[in-house]
Each structure stands twice: as structure tokens, then as C-alpha cells.
Amino acid sequence: MAEEVKLFGSWASPYTSRVKVVLKLKGIEYENVEEDLSNKSPLLLKYNPIHKKVPVFLHHGKPIAESLIIIEYIDETWKHNPILPIDPYDRAMARFWAKFIDEKIQPAVWKTLLAGENEREAAIEEAHQLLKTLERELNGKKFFGGESLGFLDVAGNVVVWLEVSQEALGMNLLDKEKFPILHEWCQRVLDDDAFKQVMPPKEKLLAFTRARFEAFLGPK
């Protein structure tokens, strides 16, 4: 039964990528609508008028925005190969750490990029502490989800993308000497079948990141 499933996204958006990974893991077929983020389509603006961002998921014509909300919807609608743990306490932990990644780690990483000379060291130290806290949560497991990718591994893709693209930003925030466990986890995630199929090619991502960062900073 073909259900109308569409995903409005951008190849360069890790948030879009989260949804794509989950769709792959569940074997859900969908139509991919690639958005030009410098020239957003009227449909995207219609489906996400509040934030005007990707990803937007469309199922039977009904739009859902925000990557983690989309993933919970997908998990509740297509119940095979569950992404979130079954036990309520484990689910709470997965949600807690996903929030930590989006609300603490991401802003801290941005801060290191934008920090002036005086604040940079403190910003880096803060980001390091947060990454260390996340690393401890792996606690000897192969993935945050256990033996296979789960919700938190998917949410953690921004950390994987950071590892891959940080050289384009002239930084080594996720230093593999400082974060050996997180680094190994990143490699396992990158090696995962579903993730591999969805991850943009490294060179393409580096070029994009470099260009975007330079545009953002402005001329030196």
C-alpha cells in the first residue's frame, strides 16, 4: 500500500539526515523533496510557517516539523524496528540525552565558532565538558541504543557530523585523543548500513561547511 510520504529537507542538514536515517532503518519509502535553503519553496513555507525550516515530514498531506518530533511520529506510526526503547525509563533517558545534545552541546559548539579570542578558550572548555558528559553515557555500549542504532544515536548524528566536518572549520573540538570512546562510536555509526546510505560524501560536506562558515564570518 503506497502511503503518501514526503520529506522536505536539505542534503546538508543533519536534522534532515536524522529523519532519513530513521526512514531507512524502517524501510519506509518516501519522496525526497530537496530544498534550496537560500530560496525556500512556497510549499515549505506553507507547511512550516512558524520556523520555516527543514526537515518537514508530510504523511497523507499532514505536515510535521522538528526532527525529533518527526521521529517520534514515525516510530508511533510504523511500529516495526522501534527506534525508541520500549521501557518508559529508557525512553526518558533517550529523550533526556537527545535534549542535552540539541540544547546544550549544539549551542556550545556554535559558541566556540563565534567566540572572540578572549572567550574562545573558555568556550572550548565548556564544549569539551559537555562532550565528555555525553561520552560517559556510552558506558561500554556499542551504540547508545545498545547493539544497534537507536533514538539517541540518531539524535547524536550532529556529533558525528561535527567529527567529519570540523577540519573545514579549522578546529579539532572532537579530538580523538581526548574523546577516544566517542570517536570509536562515531566510526561505528558512520559504518552502519542505514547511516552510510544517508550520509553525504565527506568532500561535499567539507566544501559546503567551509563555504558556509566563511560566508557566515564575512570577509577577514
Binding site: 512558524i50 499532514k62 516539523a65 525512553r91 526518558a92 533526556f96 535534549k99 542535552f100
Partner: protein, 233 residues
């Protein structure tokens, strides 16, 4: 129905925290007995730091010895664990997604900016006030979509997570008006939001948990003074 295992529920919180209030309301609505542990946030207990080492904040829910942190995470945990009481989220996945979306919106766009209004003055405050009005307008529009075709019924006894979060923000709007001198819950500007907030403040659980007006005013004044002093220093 007999519980298979003992249900021991503790909530570490602080009486004036809207985040803690969310959890209290949820527990009350579900009829879950719990022990409230009042935390002095200036002098946090060892137990709190042990249960929430990452954020060191309230609320923390301890269920049979296991801690859960972050109010929105706690609310979903409560809903998934105690299935006997009234549901805090709809059954339908799409409706759940919409509720989560608007809850996130209220949390991130309204809460943050209202805090900014409380902690600033002059031009900075005017700017923050403008942003709150803009976000309220978006919420007003969003409610039309959320309620469309169905009566979003507030029955005086039950609430969902969106109700709870909105109430934790604007339930004290009268105190906010008194201290900040701005009327956000304006029936002319935002009729849907206003009537919704008003209905929520009448829910039994909310009424039972609401601190006295004078105490809310005092706390808000304290937060404001402390913030203004800190920025002036």
C-alpha cells in the same frame, strides 16, 4: 487494580518554579501520590546533585529510586508509566506530534522571551516585549489550527502537556502584569489564548497548586531586581 510493584514517587522541587509546577499538576491529574522535597536552590541538597548531576536543577522525579530530569521528559514518562489516569497526550500519533510541536514552541519561544522581559528594562525590555507579542500572535494563529474542527475541551479536571506548559507560563499572568506593567494575556489581542489560559486557571489541580498572588508577585519582583542588579554591576 492492585499495583504489581510498590510505587514510590518523590519530587524534588521548589514552590515558585514553573517547571516544577508542571510536574505537580501532572501528578495531581493522574492521581499519583508523591512526596514533595523542597529544595533550597541557593543551597542545593547532596541528593539533588546526585540525582541531577548534569543540570543540577529541579524538577527531578524519583520513581522507585530512579531519577528522571527535565520537566517535559518527566511529563512524557508519567504518561507512559501511569496509564490508568487521564492521558496527558492524545492517542493519535499526528495529534501527539502537533501537541509536542506547540509545547516545544511555548517552551522555547514564549518562556525564554518572557524571562527576558522580566530580567531587562528600557530598550532591551521593549524589544523583548515586542517579541513576546509576536510569539503570542503565532500561538493565537496556531490555536485556530489546533482546535479546528473539534472542540478542544477543557473539562475543569484534566489537562494535557500543552495545557500544563501554557498554564505554567501564564497561569500567574496577573502577578506578571502587576510586576512588569504589561498585559500579555489580552482578550482583545489574543482572544483564543486568553480564554484558554483563563479556563486552565480554573482547573481543580491548578487552583489547588497555585501559590498566593502576593507570593508570586514577591518572587517575580525578586527575580527582576536580582537580574537588573546583576546587569548593572
Amino acid at each position: 487494580m492492585k499495583m504489581a510493584k510498590e510505587n514510590n514517587v518523590k519530587l524534588h522541587g521548589m514552590w515558585a518554579s514553573p517547571y516544577v509546577k508542571r510536574v505537580e499538576i501532572a501528578l495531581k491529574i493522574k492521581g499519583i501520590p508523591y512526596e514533595f522535597v523542597e529544595e533550597d536552590l541557593v543551597n542545593k541538597s547532596q541528593l539533588l546533585l546526585q540525582y541531577n548531576p548534569v543540570h543540577k536543577k529541579v524538577p527531578v522525579l524519583i520513581h522507585n529510586g530512579k531519577p528522571i530530569c527535565e520537566s517535559l521528559v518527566i511529563l512524557e514518562y508519567i504518561d507512559e508509566t501511569w496509564k490508568n489516569g487521564p492521558p496527558l497526550l492524545p492517542q493519535d500519533p499526528y495529534k501527539r506530534a502537533k501537541v509536542r510541536f506547540w509545547t516545544s514552541f511555548v517552551e522555547k519561544e514564549l518562556f525564554e522571551n518572557l524571562l527576558l522581559v522580566a530580567r531587562s528594562e528600557g530598550e532591551a525590555q521593549e524589544k523583548a516585549i515586542k517579541v513576546v507579542f509576536e510569539k503570542l500572535q503565532l500561538l493565537e494563529e496556531g490555536l485556530k489550527d489546533l482546535f479546528q474542527g473539534e472542540t478542544y475541551h477543557i473539562d475543569g479536571e484534566t489537562m494535557g502537556i500543552l495545557d500544563i506548559v501554557l498554564c505554567s507560563l501564564f497561569g500567574a499572568h496577573e502577578a506578571q502584569e502587576e510586576v512588569l506593567g504589561v498585559k500579555f494575556i489580552d482578550p482583545e489581542k489574543f482572544p483564543l489564548v486568553c480564554s484558554w489560559v483563563t479556563a486552565l486557571t480554573e482547573v481543580t489541580a491548578v487552583k489547588e497548586l497555585r501559590p498566593p498572588h502576593e507570593k508570586l508577585v514577591a518572587v517575580l519582583q525578586f527575580i527582576r531586581q536580582r537580574a537588573l542588579q546583576a546587569s548593572a554591576a
